[in-house]
Symmetry: C2
Subunit: 362 residues, 2 copies
């Protein structure tokens, strides 16, 4: 198969969301794969700064002034000076699928030396079912050349709809600050040729660097929390979204896949800066994981929004005692859902809210 | 690293168990890797047949007459005319570790063309911890060049003791009869360079073709059931052992790894014969999986034996209604534990049972 197929998959059904504080030169390398798609660029930091986007890309760009203008007081739920701001892009997208990537991620090569079309692999992951209810030892059974092995119950072979595709990273692995400090030279050189479903009931660390999801199935759970400016924590935005998302996909019988595709992560962030951002998270996490492992959503929580609001309630009730931050976060979770529903009214609903003003675009 | 290291790992602490009905010519290919170890050969079928073992291997061989003589009336729990008989070898071993392999499995090559020392990889898997409580997206964090990723709780980084290492197969995949019939030409050519822990609470199809385990941690759960001659089912021996084992390792906070190493599985078994063996299992399995998914072991079940006897009780109570076979199987599970304890008295215990008579050996 050619690196770029002649008709790109889901061309009009997928937005690429990129949070950034700099010129997007990294897109040059992605041009063969990304150019057919629409980009949503969420500019973090100083809104006065002009972000250059290479010629020929179709994009809309939102800076903090746009976020404030579009969401009004509800803009408080969108982080500032942290890549967590990317979730604003999920909210304003009108597409069924989202791919989000960091601007320090480049095209990786597979073991044969061929450029990896990460987006194409994510789309394949999302368009084939997941297997959260039973483990298949030959990995993704829907892949060419693979299947369900002996002993896999036939009633489970239809699988579950895939809500999330979590891609990995060659070169700089996604380590926390303590591990970065202890192993400054470690690089991920191992290309593991597999996609697999994270089983039901198992939590995982979801990284936002190279991530795709189905907005219609799980979008409202992809809130990246309150991080960065004015907050006591950073670098837990994607983790928070991942834990909430996993609990909700489990409840709604949806699947999450991890593994292929790889991107090339070019540069390790500063471990000392990271440690400052992370230290509360490293500590709080020890209480968050048992919370998420034991959280139960009620049967009548049949939509992502209902699940998420219920989760916000439980965060307030049970994590408030860990730190006052979680009371603020629980409120922001509710605000996020209100903002989501305002920008994404149910299909066919009569809406009285004003339309989103057009952003800057090419 | 050389294909065979100068001092083989666990040389005096591991037995290789091989069930067979034919001459063991396949051992020639394994000689560089297996010769330092002791073999336990369980001869299935006609005891009058002489099984030839290549020169230079250190082995003991048991045929059905030996099984009957050693176990007396308890021999009823050991299957006949089915590779399930291999679990007799687990019982008579005096070593801490077991590796079991089918006699149609050969040495596979890694992508660089090098012969894979499957046993060495299994030993590495068993000697490093598992991570059943939280998923690590870069796979086995204890492997060289890998670690726990950002967001992995630090309190869980010690992992859990590894009880089982489940290896995979290149060439002929381990498919059930219906899949064999539908995809007669499918071959597994994908070398996935990963080892991972099956998360807690997740069942998997454990294949007995290429399997290692820690006898001291989990041995008594590795009962391969009643299959073959006189039984209404075959080819579910390893599956049954796997489901029981997984429930018990979860309860005892032990880990099970799957992935590397690969062996080369040379020849597909006859799908028509397999279908006859499997059809009851394919049907019953739909009730077995929900049973194993919901089984709860009591807190005071703190040893594998206690867990297994409790499981036998629940099999009798809850699966008897599926088919009378499960009443027989539940009784056989109890017999198996009695026989196990007779041959493996607690260390330091005064035992009045007669010693196991010496088997045929070189």
């Amino acid at each position: 198969m050619a690196a770029t197929s002649s008709t790109p998959l889901l061309k009009d059904e997928l937005d690429i969301v990129i949070p950034t504080i700099r010129n997007l030169d990294f897109l040059e390398m992605w041009r063969p794969f990304f150019q057919p798609y629409h980009l949503i660029i969420v500019q973090d930091g100083d809104p006065a700064k002009v972000i250059k986007v290479p010629e020929g890309f179709d994009y809309e760009l939102y800076n903090r002034n746009d976020v404030n203008r579009i969401l009004g007081p509800k803009a408080s739920c969108i982080s500032f000076k942290d890549s967590a701001c990317r979730c604003f892009g999920y909210m304003v997208s009108k597409k069924k699928y989202i791919y989000t990537i960091d601007d320090d991620c480049f095209v990786a090569k597979d073991p044969s030396g061929k450029d990896i079309n990460a987006l194409e692999q994510h789309i394949k992951n999302l368009l084939s079912p997941s297997t959260p209810f039973f483990f298949n030892t030959l990995y993704d059974p829907y892949r060419d050349g693979a299947d369900f092995v002996r002993g896999y119950p036939f009633s489970l072979r239809e699988g579950a709809p895939t809500a999330v595709s979590h891609g990995l990273w060659l070169n700089i692995p996604d380590y926390d600050a303590p591990t970065q400090l202890v192993k400054p030279r470690e690089r991920n050189n191992r290309y593991v040729d597999a996609v697999l479903t994270i089983p039901k009931g198992t939590l995982f660390p979801m990284c936002g660097m190279n991530l795709a999801f189905d907005r219609e199935l799980i979008g409202p759970a992809m809130y990246f929390g309150l991080m960065g400016d004015g907050q006591p924590i950073g670098r837990y935005d994607d983790m928070w979204a991942g834990w909430c998302t996993k609990v909700i996909t489990d409840h709604l019988s949806l699947g999450i896949k991890t593994g292929l595709p790889y991107i090339w992560h070019s540069k390790a962030s500063n471990p000392f800066v990271n440690l400052k951002k992370e230290y509360n998270g490293i500590f709080w996490q020890e209480e968050l994981i048992p919370f998420f492992q034991s959280v139960a959503l009620p049967k009548d929580a049949t939509t992502v929004q209902k699940c998420y609001l219920e989760l916000a309630k439980q965060v307030k009730a049970k994590l408030g005692k860990v730190d006052g931050y979680f009371l603020k976060l629980a409120d922001a979770m509710v605000t996020w859902i209100e903002a989501w529903d305002e920008l994404n009214p149910p299909k066919g609903a009569i809406t009285t809210t004003t339309k989103v003003p057009a952003p800057k675009s090419k």
